[in-house]
């Protein structure tokens, strides 16, 4: 619980060790090719945290890495997807092989579950998912919803969704101060509600900014320090996904990951060995995959879009 106004800067290694025990319900931020919490996902894999239940909305390669490393017993989400780059292949195969329990919801349903959690509500109604197999009693998500009638209208069914309070969430943001006041730029997807619903939150950021900057324009604060337990300075912490205003996604490295994830087996193991187990930290991985000129071109491409 990060409720205190104290300095919370630490390494990814320390943060994962302290806040993500095996068996955690782990909320993950970002979406497909944007601002995924890659540095923390790598650290979770490196520390071999097991039996994780991963929850989120649109889950991408950060989730796929943890599934591929055999650390995940269940996911609850709206999609596993890297869009133009294909499905999240380790996740897909694990489900097809019956090795991973999966609970499907719509994206809004997941965001509502986090919203309920963030408000201290036990459940929340929605009109989504009615009439579809997402609310079939035959499937394992059925302990997370019930259908009832709107008490104020006749014949107006609603789906009550159980609130979701992750044990810990991981988010990569553009900026934070050392107390954990976080600024997210660009889309914010489900991350704010998820963070506010979580018992602990670890934030990596591209820059640690002075608290005076936070106080000079408080309307830009996405997540106040009250919810945050650890702040990790990690430049390129969303790589190979894009971080708005900082760098675009690296098409080549995402394609490389997708290739080995599709293949699985030895090829995939080699990827994990080379880029995660064989690296002491995320910076060492970055030094293997990004030289100065490739960094500059990803930065330049983002600048051209702004």
């Amino acid at each position: 619980m990060g409720r205190k106004f104290i300095e919370k800067v630490m390494s990814a290694n320390e943060a994962v060790e302290q806040f993500i025990p095996s068996g955690s319900v782990l909320g993950i931020g970002g979406q497909t090719i944007g601002r995924c919490s890659m540095a923390l996902a790598h650290e979770v894999v490196r520390q071999n945290k097991k039996n994780l239940i991963i929850v989120g909305c649109s889950m991408s390669i950060s989730m796929d890495l943890m599934v591929g490393a055999g650390l995940v017993s269940r996911t609850e989400c709206g999609t596993g997807n890297v869009e133009s780059f294909g499905a999240t292949m380790r996740w897909r195969r694990a489900i097809e092989e019956g090795k991973l329990e999966v609970r499907d919801f719509s994206h809004l349903a997941m965001a509502f579950r986090f919203l309920a959690g963030s408000l201290g509500l036990p459940f929340i109604p929605t009109k989504s998912m009615l009439g579809t197999d997402l609310i079939s009693d035959a499937y394992s998500n059925s302990d997370s919803f019930i259908i009832m009638d709107n008490p104020w209208e006749n014949s107006d069914p609603v789906v009550l969704l159980r609130a979701l309070n992750p044990d810990v969430s991981i988010i990569h943001a553009q900026k934070a101060d050392k107390f954990g006041n976080v600024v997210i730029e660009g889309f914010k997807t489900h991350e704010i509600e998820m963070a506010k619903a979580s018992r602990s939150v670890i934030v990596t950021c591209e820059e640690i900014i002075d608290s005076d900057e936070i106080r000079s324009d408080p309307s830009l604060t996405s997540i106040p320090y009250i919810y945050v337990d650890a702040v990790v300075l990690q430049k390129w912490g969303g790589y190979p996904t894009s971080v708005y205003r900082y760098y675009v996604h690296d098409t080549n490295h995402i394609s490389l990951y997708q290739k080995v994830a599709r293949e699985g087996g030895l090829e995939y193991q080699k990827y994990l060995d080379e880029y995660i187990y064989g690296c002491r930290n995320f910076d060492e991985y970055l030094s293997k995959v990004l030289d100065t000129s490739s960094k500059n071109s990803l930065i330049q491409e983002m600048d051209d879009l702004l």
Binding site: Q31, T32, S58, G78, T79, S84, L108, L130, T189, E193
Partner: protein, 257 residues
């Protein structure tokens, strides 16, 4: 017409169902490119909304994802998933919802979750994402997909996103507030439309050079032809083709090249 020409016309025709000023909830894949085409071609004042929370951007071609920074350009708001799918869509303010899917059945239900049995899948697909929300709450629904027999079965293996579910009153019985939306399914062979009397898709238009027989041979459900039969999809103009191939998707991220 060549396959490539049909592929292009599928996107152009789908875009014609978006009017200037529409608030459009845009799903990933072909809906992104067709909505972008509409924005640049004839609907500069449409409000492009994507689930990650981006509202009203002037999208830069060619985004590869709904979280691509190209979809953030000159937006009026960089919000949250709840701002987009909650406060606009669930609230009832989306004129058009635009999705794709792996299977589309005769009631316009869409499957993007699984091929085969959910608990013992043959192929696991990405899942709903925002598609269920979009098909549930939009006032009009557009579905775009390339035509293949296995893509158009009589009944989806799994209903991820509701069409008319099982008949004309399917949505009403399930409790959906938008109980009789217009639904159009645009493919590279034809356009299906919902007949609200039966809740089933009928063949509203066919692409130039495609016959009703072709569509029958490539569709798993019964092809229904009403009254005078299908219209022919309007040929694209040279400007439309050039906009699509030179500006919207010049490298073939989404379209056949």
């Amino acid at each position: 017409m060549t396959d490539k020409a049909h592929d292009n016309l599928m996107v152009i025709e789908a875009a014609r169902y978006i009017s200037d000023g529409d608030v459009v909830l845009v799903g990933t894949g072909l809906p992104m490119v067709a909505s972008l085409f509409a924005q640049k071609n004839h609907a500069p004042n449409m409000c492009y909304v994507v689930e990650s929370g981006l509202i009203g951007p002037e999208v830069i071609p060619t985004p590869v994802s709904v979280s691509d920074p190209r979809v953030m350009n000159k937006a009026i708001n960089h919000g949250t998933l709840i701002s987009a799918l909650g406060e606009i869509l669930h609230r009832g303010l989306a004129d058009v919802g635009f999705i794709s899917g792996a299977q589309i059945d005769q009631f316009a239900n869409v499957n993007s979750t699984v091929i085969g049995d959910y608990n013992n899948p043959k192929v696991r697909l990405p899942g709903s994402g925002g598609a269920n929300d979009i098909a549930t709450h939009s006032r009009r629904i557009l579905i775009i997909a390339r035509h293949e027999k296995r893509r158009f079965p009589e009944r989806c293996d799994y209903i991820t996103s509701p069409g008319y579910i099982d008949g004309p009153d399917g949505r009403k019985k399930a409790g959906l507030r938008v109980y009789d939306p217009d639904i159009n399914v645009i493919t590279d062979q034809c356009v299906f439309e919902i007949d609200k009397k039966t809740g089933k898709l009928f063949l509203a238009k066919i692409m130039p050079g495609v016959t009703i027989e072709d569509v029958k041979n490539n569709t798993g459900f019964e092809i229904i032809v009403l009254n005078n039969g299908p219209e022919i999809v309007l040929q694209p103009t040279q400007n439309e083709i050039s906009l699509l191939n030179n500006q919207i998707d010049p490298t073939g991220v989404y379209l056949k090249h």
